[in-house]
Symmetry: C2
Subunit: 235 residues, 2 copies
DNA sequence: CAGTGGTCTAGACCACTTC
DNA sequence: AAGTGGTCTAGACCACTGG
């Protein structure tokens, strides 16, 4: 099988360090020629490496060798910036939009909202070492954080919430599935619709046990490795 | 874009319930004809739905509508059987192999073993409603569970460990990445090498804080939804 | 044994990125 | 303006599945 040989060859070059992280691969046509095959077969091989997290693509820009993933621990609350910095990476955050709206089905369910509740919604894109790796869509109960939209949303949100509204999260619930980028998220992350992704839904609860924020995160699958720890009481 | 229309059409039929879980899709050639396209484009659409978890394939047998995923909670120790039964599903477990060996690099690192340590290794495949969904490779410190191989390994392992060797796990550490099935795992799960998968590495610690078991699990990405909860002390 | 999925070939067009 | 990735066509062969 051709495409297995191709993936093996490229994988080996990556793991032996001949292809450094961030490097752009040669064009598909050149690679296809090099491996004496067609673009269809070559792309099959590349897609496999992508799902494996070894390479990723930027829409219409080509294929690149993945950086090592961020290791994200769910055992404690995480701020994207802190996680990246503590692992020697350069994080970036961009706010794409923010507005106030009536809760849609998704947010309403996650936050256990009564009908017609107001929420704030904003979207951010997070990058590591100059490349977008994650898109996040936030919903917050509007009454708990009045005037949210008048504040900058680029920074550490837990700090903002606490300093402005004395809001602190004491519990988070996560849901995690693998999926693919849809068109909008792909656009926001310079990715391709259909590329494999990890979706993390995070619901944050305040001291009174009320769900105040829900975040839908879409990660490039190559950019994240999750870690968590659980201690159990004996039965 | 053709393949987007195809995914949308099939997705809609699934979500509206016209295509029930477990149903086999028509052959690729028939589908391609129905959508007035070629097999290449059709397969692109199917692969997308697969990565999205809506359908899955069995090697050379065709494409099927996914069951709803098992919801696996990492906040407490989980036994595959219990999880499945509690969600109204019919679990199955098959032991593929078991033997004693010198620890390899992977297991040795995960268990913090000194060089040349003996471990037991066994492989199991777990199914839901008659279909394999997960492959697990277990490694245990040999000295803690002597004669492990003389016991049946199909059942609840925590029960076995406890009844035979008074071994109980009080802490687990998890690592989670998305990846693809390799040839061996694909074979064991009737899947296809290259299909998207979730890899969970679980290290189990006993009361004394010693890592006694490491499990490498490979899940069909459509078969699992992870859930976890974390409570935090205020800073 | 018919039909299927897995794999592969050899092209093509278009919109976009890059220079 | 050249080259690239995204998308698509119209075939083909083989090994395997399932009846």
């Amino acid at each position: 099988m051709q495409y297995i040989k191709i993936t093996d060859a490229i994988r080996e070059q990556i793991q032996s360090g001949q292809l450094a992280a961030g490097t752009k691969l040669p064009s598909e046509r050149k690679l296809a020629e090099a491996f004496k095959t067609t673009r269809v077969t070559l792309r099959e091989a590349l897609s496999l490496l992508e799902a494996d997290g070894l390479i990723f693509r930027e829409d219409r820009r080509g294929w690149f060798i993945s950086q090592r993933p961020l290791i994200v621990s769910l055992s404690k609350p995480y701020d994207f910036n802190d996680v990246a910095v503590s692992q020697g990476r350069k994080p970036s955050t961009e706010v794409l939009s923010s507005d106030s709206m009536m809760a849609n089905k998704e947010s309403s369910e996650a936050l256990s909202l009564p009908p017609f509740s107001d929420v704030f919604r904003f979207e951010r894109v997070h990058g590591v070492d100059g490349r977008p790796v994650m898109y996040a869509e936030h919903y917050l109960r509007a009454e708990r954080v009045p005037n949210l939209l008048q504040h900058g949303l680029e920074g550490d949100l837990s700090e903002l919430y606490h300093s402005q509204w004395q809001l602190r999260f004491t519990k988070s619930c996560y849901r995690l599935v693998s999926t693919t980028f849809d068109k909008d998220v792909a656009l926001a992350t310079r990715s391709t619709s259909g590329s494999p992704a990890m979706k993390i839904t995070k619901v944050n609860f305040d001291e009174s046990g009320v769900a105040q924020e829900v975040v839908f995160e879409y990660w490039r699958c190559s950019a994240i490795e999750l870690e968590m720890e659980a201690a159990f009481n004996l039965r």
